[in-house]
Symmetry: C2
Subunit: 513 residues, 2 copies
């Protein structure tokens, strides 16, 4: 096989972190904003987020959940209760202290000392407290339950070390918050959201995930149980891609969310919360990207097919453009993955070859290059992003008759969606290691496979409290964490490698983002 | 005609401001959040915003504009340039000064003095500066132009006196920002956005508006020309419902947005910006609401038809629900206004009559009440929200055969959209007064019609500078403002009532929100 000249300067093998940054820059997904920890999400990155929103929102609405909007600012006092219970409480949050700027008399600006807020406001890191206060107003009787709300919003958590899409001070997310009459109903909702995230990741993002319960030490503070979906990135690390929490009655008690039951008695609600964020985009990059840039699963691709006319700035261009426009219209009339095909005719100035590599790096599933001869002969030249290179190291364009291509384009798009999912699943499954029988063997495995370690599946005794803390501390030395206990796992045999007690459930141990 | 017992306690006539608040509360659209100047937008209000977003976003995308996302925070220094030029600069904005909270040792929390930001951050009041900086990075040559970007986001302007949807410290909006090679192209975009807002208001919101140019004194600071759409509320006041600005090259110069033209020369871009916000919802309430609550134009109604089964908690309920579910499915299969009909079967516990008045106040276009006898006889009982009352003061339910209703429901929905627009247009046109020939007559008109003054259309000489300022000051005494000069207005005769010079264009003078 010929040496391939990849579109990126850094390969995944050479430097995964650097490769990740290069994909984001070259696919024009996002960039540093000049504001610490905040990114600018560019049209291609934001278009992917819009697709994620549209598909996820449809699932959220189908479950009967209603969207609302809550304030950006939360009074400082709302956090005081939390602080009472937390030793050495210190929260990295953006604090608003003034409501006016004035000139400093030296050509600069300063916060106006006369406009100091009586109570500082916090830019929401999450909306539990303010939504809890609203639910306490809205819920009176069992007739109001379940109350199912969701919000799409920006939130801020001051981060010292940021990485685009994965950990930024400001990020975009959805946060579901629900209140229920009893534990059974709240748990059902918690697991419904978890399953929604799992199926969404597999189907829309083509990203295989393990849905399961987080260990006690990784629970959302105050939650009774926390569940997650975990995806394996191409460097073998785990990415927590979504969480769902059963909060018991503790949050309802703090916020006063009570209802009158059918017997006329006052009772506390059981609440849940669940969320996914722009972090999903980071997961998509590290699941599907290759040494030529991003590969976007068709379901979330802002454009699924891009048509590049090879314009020559001569008399033939008009006929070529007419052919391409007719092709665009024919393709846009077909349906793939339950929606009309998204097709762009890229008429921007510039050489087709240069534009081609731009679209390759953006990861558009199908690229069509159409020259004057193609137009005259009723042909199209098709490049599938997931089969980019020929054996001889050249781009794998396949010439096809126009009619045949138009008839099969939707099926091809659906095949790419399947192929990306299959490729990622095969890789993930090949990199889950089983049969490690001691802590020493675990340590040895990760030290020997530092480059692409994957995950280790173990049976354990589900220790809690101090016993769990000891396990977590030993893993931390190896830079390892417990990801989750998979839902519906089969029975386990043998003993826990941490406690020596009989194993009762499976866990995944991995390095993680 | 019998006395009608309206669903609200306050009528528009009795107290328009109080009526407005009651509509919002009773339609469960929004409420005070407990955070100064910020509201909670409840599902019905947010559902209307989602509809506005979906329809507006389709128009924005169809114009080739791409959505992006820019940071919530803007460094203080970005505002310094503006301050240099503005005498006594003072801006009401939320200022972030710290990035951490810590316990104060007395059970409370305080901003950590150790975590003071070197440079304060401002919560964006608008994103001109930060988007300008991005455009300066993105634009190199004429090939990159026009650059058409838009953002859907929350923004904050500290407001001393707030009113829900109309003026809140935090609000939701879209802001379009575009860069062009020359003035002609930028002006075309400015007017395209204006026309988009005009047609959107008329078609989607059923809200008639006058599109025109704002007078010089009402321009966005730094803009060369500002255009607006102005709607007349039911108290006769004007609401500025959207703006579009041609910014010339001033903003490009400040941000360094330059391009290399076809001859290889560096040139400044011409930029535009344009926006509408959740204020549109306030406009919809004050255009279409009546003494029974909101009336939502079908195009932006989260639900267009609500089916209320009259459940009796007996054996007949199952058959009734089956009939209603079948009815819902049949209705949802038809198309109104280019989309599938949005139909809700409201199975929540509670009496149908009580639920009916809830939906009346929310303004859902069609309400169906279905009892056991209707189900048995293949009937439906239909209430049109815009024809709510019979002559005898009873709700105007019309019994119809199910088949006939299903066949005509989409047409009925489209008829309601038209009827609301026609009603609002008739009222608006009836309340524009012409022929006022002197300033004294103008003053007299508004003092004699304090309750429902409407607008006055005048010809004027388009004064500028100090001459305009004198006009503005005289109008201010009467609490009047110049709204805009309508686009494509016919020729005017006579003299300007302010300057005595020959009139050269029309203006509207009104009280306003």
């Amino acid at each position: 096989m010929q040496k391939i000249r990849h579109a990126l300067t850094v390969t995944r093998d050479a430097d995964f972190a650097q490769w990740y940054q290069e994909v984001i820059a070259e696919a024009e997904m996002a960039e540093e904003s000049g504001v610490r920890g905040c990114m600018v999400i560019r049209p291609w990155g934001y278009g992917i987020w819009e697709r994620i929103q549209a598909l996820m929102d449809a699932r959220i609405k189908a479950a009967g959940v209603e969207n609302c909007y809550f304030p950006l600012f939360i009074p400082l006092s709302y956090f005081a209760k939390e602080a009472e219970h937390v030793e050495g409480f210190a929260k990295e949050m953006a604090v608003v202290t003034h409501h006016r700027l004035i000139g400093d008399g030296k050509g600069g600006l300063v916060p106006d000392p006369e406009a100091k807020l009586e109570e500082p406001l916090i830019v929401r890191p999450t909306s539990e407290t303010v939504i809890g206060a609203a639910m306490a107003r809205w819920i009176q009787s069992w007739r109001d339950l379940p109350m199912l709300t969701n919000q799409w919003a920006n939130v801020v958590r001051w981060e010292m070390r940021t990485r685009m899409f994965l950990r930024t001070s400001e990020f975009l997310w959805q946060e579901g918050h629900t209140a229920h009459a009893d534990k059974a109903d709240a748990m059902a909702e918690t697991l419904r959201a978890l399953e929604m995230y799992r199926s969404f990741s597999e189907e829309a993002l083509a990203m295989p995930v393990i849905a399961g319960e987080k260990p006690e030490n990784e629970r959302f503070p105050g939650a009774v149980a926390t569940y997650s979906i975990e995806a394996m990135m191409q460097d073998g690390k785990a990415l927590q891609a979504g969480t769902s929490h059963y909060l018991g009655t503790g949050f309802a008690e703090a916020a006063g969310i009570r209802y009158q039951d059918r017997e006329g008695q006052q009772a506390l609600c059981h609440t849940t919360s669940w969320g996914v964020s722009t972090r999903l985009i980071g997961g998509v990059i590290m699941t599907h990207g290759d040494d030529d840039g991003l590969r976007v699963p068709p379901a979330i691709a802002p454009q699924q097919v891009v048509i590049l006319p090879m314009l020559r700035e001569d008399d033939g261009d008009a006929a070529l453009l007419a052919y391409c426009e007719e092709l665009r219209r024919a393709l846009a009339a077909s349906q793939a993955l339950g929606e009309p095909l998204r097709v762009l005719l890229d008429k921007k100035p510039g050489k087709a070859t240069g534009k081609r590599w731009g679209w390759v790096k953006k990861g558009v599933p199908l690229i069509l290059e159409i020259g004057g001869r193609d137009a005259a002969g009723g042909q199209v030249s098709v490049l599938r992003r997931d089969r980019l290179w020929r054996e001889d190291g050249k781009p794998n364009f396949v010439g096809q008759a126009r009619e045949g291509f138009v008839a099969s384009a939707a099926a091809e798009i659906e095949d790419i969606q399947r192929a990306l999912h299959a490729e990622a699943t095969t890789r993930r499954d090949a990199n889950i290691v089983r049969g490690i029988a001691s802590f020493e063997a675990l340590a040895e495995f990760f030290s020997e496979n530092a480059r692409y370690p994957g995950w280790v599946e173990l049976g354990w005794s589900r220790p809690s409290g101090a016993e769990l803390e000891a396990v977590v501390a030993r893993l931390k030395v190896l830079k390892l964490t417990i990801r989750n206990t998979p839902m519906g796992g089969s029975e386990v045999a043998g003993n826990c490698i941490f406690t020596g007690k009989p194993a009762i459930e499976r866990i995944y141990v991995a390095r993680s983002y």
